[in-house]
């Protein structure tokens, strides 16, 4: 049992030694690779601690001889030389490493090294050991948050070398985990550092290496320590920034409100334009009469209304009294209009468009007078109309036979202004006369409605010819209500007109013209009103 135990212990020891040796070899090769890059001289030497010193050189496998062929001698200043036992290691790329580990290490004194191969010096070097340190990387590198945004606290354990702590310098490398490009921060004689200016919520990679400051001790930068990955804290809202943002926003809102309030009228006009109201056009309509248009019309004169800009200029309102609705019979044949009358009709039609008021001006009246003097007024024609009217009254046409009143010609009823009484009578006969007489139309009746000129007017006081109005005949049929009335059929377009009362047919010769305001009440359905006008005969 005892022997077996001893054998096992020996085996374990050898294994550990082998492992340690392997580890040592691995570490040595790692440092050797650094020196092969950094040190141009041969042999390449470095000190890991205050008590060891290693020198080596590299040769190709093909050219290298056996280790026996080489000798490594060294001598400190003012001392005798010594020989170092060489070791051979195989490295990558078909190379051989010849290694010497000094037994006795002395610093702050010159060391002379000689390497011979078969008695021939191949390498020669004088150095100071305290200037060739190659330390191990710092251990236990720890990265933690400082509690502040964009900062990390890095700490490590410095190499354990007495008398050299204040001579060590460190480099801390940090970069984003997904990037190879980073930054390096240096620090001396301290084993802790705070990294600042880091991005929030970002994973960083941190590494540390060590070297000596070069004043008393010097050497090569160690290998980088194993990387440590840490994520920074998420972004926080700085209370100062939040408060400033709030204050600035509040000030901007106040400025906007002030601007809006100072221009609120302009903005309201643009966004919500006022609906135009006719208040200004209708005096007292809404203020006095509360919007009662009928009542307002009754209190105001027709001229005021007729002067309203809403009235189309083409429509010349004329005073007209509708006595009854008349159902129209088949179109009556009427004598052809005299040429002059046609011309007069045309002229009057044009004038009608010009007239925009209920009262003609003097000019138009003069024209009318001219027309009248051209032969419009024909007593024969007047009698013909009366006859026709009487005929109609005596034999009213059944409704079924009645057709739409159609008139293709424009009818004109005019009366002069400032006439004498005789003329006045004639005028009345002409225009009103006979109130129930239809004008015959030369053209065949059409099924569609036409606009006719309405006869008009007057006012006893002014004696002005009433304006001529045009009406549109809706396609309705109307019947006469009272044949005893002298009447005039008018197609009501819905425009309020001032109609003069029509005298009875019996009183045609004694027509008294007076003015009555006609309040236009829109019937449930439109009915055509026949405009009574005297036919115009041209004796010429």
């Amino acid at each position: 049992m005892t022997c077996e135990r001893l054998v096992r212990l020996l085996a374990l020891y050898l294994t550990l030694c082998a492992a340690a040796a392997a580890g040592d070899v691995r570490d040595f090769k790692r440092k050797a690779s650094i020196l092969l890059k950094e040190e141009p001289k041969n042999p390449k030497c470095f000190a890991e601690t205050k008590k060891d010193f290693v020198c080596f050189w590299e040769e190709d496998e093909e050219r290298a001889g056996s280790v026996d062929q080489y000798s490594f001698t060294y001598a400190y200043q003012k001392e005798n030389g010594s020989t170092c036992a060489l070791q051979v290691l195989r490295s990558a790329g078909g190379k051989r490493l010849f290694v010497c580990r000094l037994d006795r290490v002395q610093m702050f004194v010159q060391l002379d090294i000689r390497v011979y191969r078969e008695g021939i010096q191949i390498h020669n070097r004088s150095l100071l050991i305290e200037l060739l340190f190659l330390l191990d990387p710092p251990k236990n590198v720890t990265v933690s948050s400082t509690g502040r945004q964009g900062q990390l606290n890095v700490s490590w354990v410095a190499p354990s070398l007495k008398y050299m702590d204040d001579s060590m310098i460190y480099e801390v490398f940090y970069a984003r985990a997904d990037s190879h490009v980073g930054q390096v921060e240096a620090i001396q004689a301290c084993s802790e550092m705070i990294l600042r200016g880091l991005e929030a919520s970002t994973k960083y990679r941190v590494q540390v290496r060590v070297n000596l400051d070069g004043i008393t001790y010097d050497g090569f930068w160690s290998a980088w320590s194993d990387p440590v990955f840490v994520e920074t804290l998420p972004a926080e809202l700085d209370p100062l920034i939040v408060s400033l943002t709030f204050i600035v926003s509040f000030i901007l809102v106040l400025l906007c409100l002030t601007m809006l309030l100072s221009h609120h009228r302009f903005l309201i006009k643009k966004l919500w334009p006022a609906v135009p109201t006719p208040d200004s056009k209708f005096q007292d309509l809404f203020t006095v009469y509360g919007g009662d248009f009928k009542e307002w019309l009754g209190q105001t004169s027709g001229s005021l209304w007729l002067t309203s800009p809403f009235i189309l200029s083409e429509e010349c309102p004329s005073p007209l009294e509708v006595l009854s609705e008349l159902h129209l019979c088949p179109p009556l044949s009427s004598p052809p209009l005299p040429p002059k009358a046609s011309k007069a009709l045309t002229l009057v039609r044009n004038e009608d468009r010009v007239l925009s008021k209920g009262l003609l001006d003097g000019e138009s009246v003069d024209r009318v007078d001219a027309l009248q003097t051209n032969g419009w007024r024909s007593p024969l024609h007047d009698h013909w109309l009366l006859d026709r009217l009487r005929e109609f009254q005596q034999h009213p046409v059944p409704r079924s036979q009645c057709s739409l009143l159609e008139s293709q010609d424009t009818y004109i009823t005019l009366s002069g202004n400032k006439r004498t009484e005789e003329e006045h009578r004639e005028d009345t006969l002409d225009e009103v006369l006979p109130p129930g007489v239809f004008f015959a139309s030369r053209k065949p009746p059409k099924s569609e409605s036409h606009s006719d000129l309405g006869s008009v007017q007057q006012s006893s006081g002014s004696g002005n010819l009433s304006s001529q109005s045009s009406f549109e005949y809706p396609n309705n049929v109307w019947t006469a209500k009272d044949p005893g009335y002298t009447y005039m059929a008018v197609a009501d377009s819905g425009v309020s007109m001032d109609y003069s009362p029509m005298s009875r047919a019996d009183d045609i010769g004694k027509v008294v013209i007076y003015a009555n305001d006609y309040k236009n009440e829109i019937p449930p359905h439109r009915r055509p009103f026949l405009v009574r006008q005297c036919p115009v005969h041209d004796d010429g």
Binding site: Q77, K78, F108, V109, K162, I215, T216
Partner: protein, 172 residues
């Protein structure tokens, strides 16, 4: 009647310990500059005779085995030897640039002595004989002299200051 008042000189006030090694580092830098300049000198920059200089070799195990007094004695002796050698070199120097370096180095040695005094190290008593005591080397060139001077400052002097008791008490 006349009365006399005798006064005696008072004891010097103790110096404040100088434990900041940056002072020594500055001296080391200037010593290195002098050595580099001396290496490039070809004429008018040699010793007329061999001089004794302190040994600069430091074996940390051996150094740690010595006590503070032995260490201080070794350093103070070395400083005295270097002052003697550098003063001799100064008299034989004709190079003006090197003369300024040598003057600076000698001045720094006196400053280091004062630093040691501030750390309560005993005053050094030079030996009666000019022959080099044990633990010294003989050098014959100015380059060697300045090299020894540099190594002595970087080694033993620095180690002594690092381990000075006065500095340990101040740090704690």
């Amino acid at each position: 009647k006349i009365g006399f008042l005798w006064t005696r000189p008072g004891l010097p006030s103790p110096l404040r310990p100088i434990c900041d090694l940056r002072v020594l580092n500055h001296f080391i830098q200037e010593a290195r500059d002098a050595e580099v300049t001396m290496k490039s000198c070809r004429e008018g920059c040699g010793l007329t005779e061999a001089v004794s200089v302190p040994q600069t070799t430091v074996n940390f195990d051996d150094w740690e085995k010595k006590n503070a007094m032995e260490q201080a004695q070794e350093v103070q002796t070395g400083l005295w030897l270097l002052q003697q050698a550098l003063s001799l070199l100064r008299t034989s120097m004709t190079n003006s640039e090197l003369n300024s370096h040598i003057d600076n180095v000698i001045r720094n040695l006196h400053s280091i002595t004062a630093v040691l005094r501030s750390l309560n190290f005993q005053e050094y008593t030079p030996p009666a004989s000019t022959v080099g005591p044990e633990g010294t080397w003989r050098v014959s060139t100015a380059t060697e002299l300045l090299q020894v001077h540099l190594n002595f400052l970087r080694g033993k002097v620095r180690l002594l200051l690092l381990d000075a008791q006065a500095c340990q008490q101040e740090a704690s």
